[in-house]
Symmetry: D2
Amino acid sequence: MQAPDVEFTAPDEQYCQRTEKLFYDMPFVKFLDLKIAGMGPGWLDCQVINRPELQQQNGFLHAGVIATLADMSAGISAATLIDKDHSALSAEFKIVLLRPGLGERFIARGRTIKRGRKLSVAESWIYGVTGDKEKLIARGYLTLAVI
Amino acid sequence: MQAPDVEFTAPDEQYCQRTEKLFYDMPFVKFLDLKIAGMGPGWLDCQVINRPELQQQNGFLHAGVIATLADMSAGISAATLIDKDHSALSAEFKIVLLRPGLGERFIARGRTIKRGRKLSVAESWIYGVTGDKEKLIARGYLTLAVI
Amino acid sequence: MQAPDVEFTAPDEQYCQRTEKLFYDMPFVKFLDLKIAGMGPGWLDCQVINRPELQQQNGFLHAGVIATLADMSAGISAATLIDKDHSALSAEFKIVLLRPGLGERFIARGRTIKRGRKLSVAESWIYGVTGDKEKLIARGYLTLAVI
Amino acid sequence: MQAPDVEFTAPDEQYCQRTEKLFYDMPFVKFLDLKIAGMGPGWLDCQVINRPELQQQNGFLHAGVIATLADMSAGISAATLIDKDHSALSAEFKIVLLRPGLGERFIARGRTIKRGRKLSVAESWIYGVTGDKEKLIARGYLTLAVI
């Protein structure tokens, strides 16, 4: 994991509550059972416990779950910087699969690298975690429209 | 939807059975309840019926489901061209979200645009379908490693 | 090449002149000697004659030139739909290199697939041309911010 | 700029000479006048002095030059890890344009994040430099086929 080039400040005092609500209000997030693991201005970590129904034919985490972790961590990291009158919607993202998705759980660390008035850009590092060892399994790169 | 620039031939007579098995052997595919809707050499259509647990906070299809549909349709379209001694693994993909994910069901049409010895490249068109009307909601672009 | 899913109409009568001016006002376009080969609402074809200084170490067209052709054809295809009070700026793009960049000349066919109020999305097909034979060498996928 | 997650070792003692030759043997690199600014196992920095012919209509660095800097820095960073019997070819890349391309010169810092037997993955940070101030103007994400 790598720290971002920039320091961000929160748009207001309610950003944590607003971000949590946004995250957990998504039925698909509940269906996969993703959880927020940490949050601050411009960053969000989320995780999921590994279980068979999230896997592909070889027992690795399915690319669709990896994409969901990348989209949620990077996208909601950008949402932490948005005030209550705006919202940030994913416009496009790229996912690179680096290693087999193995681990007891998976953690995605989303970091905003640019907060613009029209577009925000964020990245995600997705790790498989076993015991206290983290292994980078994928990267995600996201563009969001601010509206 | 658009026809590919190239015509492909199947690697052998068992490719349909092999492709179906590959598709339905993925627990995550069963969990989301994706179904194959059509198949041929170099192409695969798959679909899913809309239901609340696949949605985000506004009732639109979640980007993670769109990514899964894109990955499965494009990736398995490339797998139809792979003989029984090889396999094709997603290396990276890009998803572009064009319109809100609305519809009674969603169909993703995956088309291989290049079948290489080392890398295959495939694309996906993802539509929201209501009655007999299809609306393009997203595009997916996939690179696979042939191993 | 593939026709777009949608038909676009020009924003006004001056769009051709405006688009030509935009294209040829870029010093880097002149430096590479790119030329417009055709244009209409939502599409633009541009080309360049092959010459050694555009190549990499094996005599193939350099990926940077391919990216320039993709960006110019797709980006300016979106610009044809923009009225005189707005502009469309490339926000991000993906380039896929499919085959070696060989040919007497190269033509890039850019097609807008969505014209939005905030974002436009466009694609490009890049061909190597020898005599009257065209071979697809790369694909480009572009997101633009409308401002 | 951010350090990579991994430490790489050079494939042999000649890798620097081989990498320099590879870089400067590309006619397009000479045409743009790119220069290597630093190199080690898994990383390469390259730069170009700003001049009008590299710009677009507003005087910003053209996206095609940014793509070239990203491709060369990330791609050649992966090439430093390849022995003399193999080579690494760009398969696809994504470029994100973050800020206007302004500066006296531009430096692209390429870092390999995975060196695989079939595929390598590398990233680039592209900065506009004025005096001793560097400003991140773009990011690049590259997949290479090792052959």
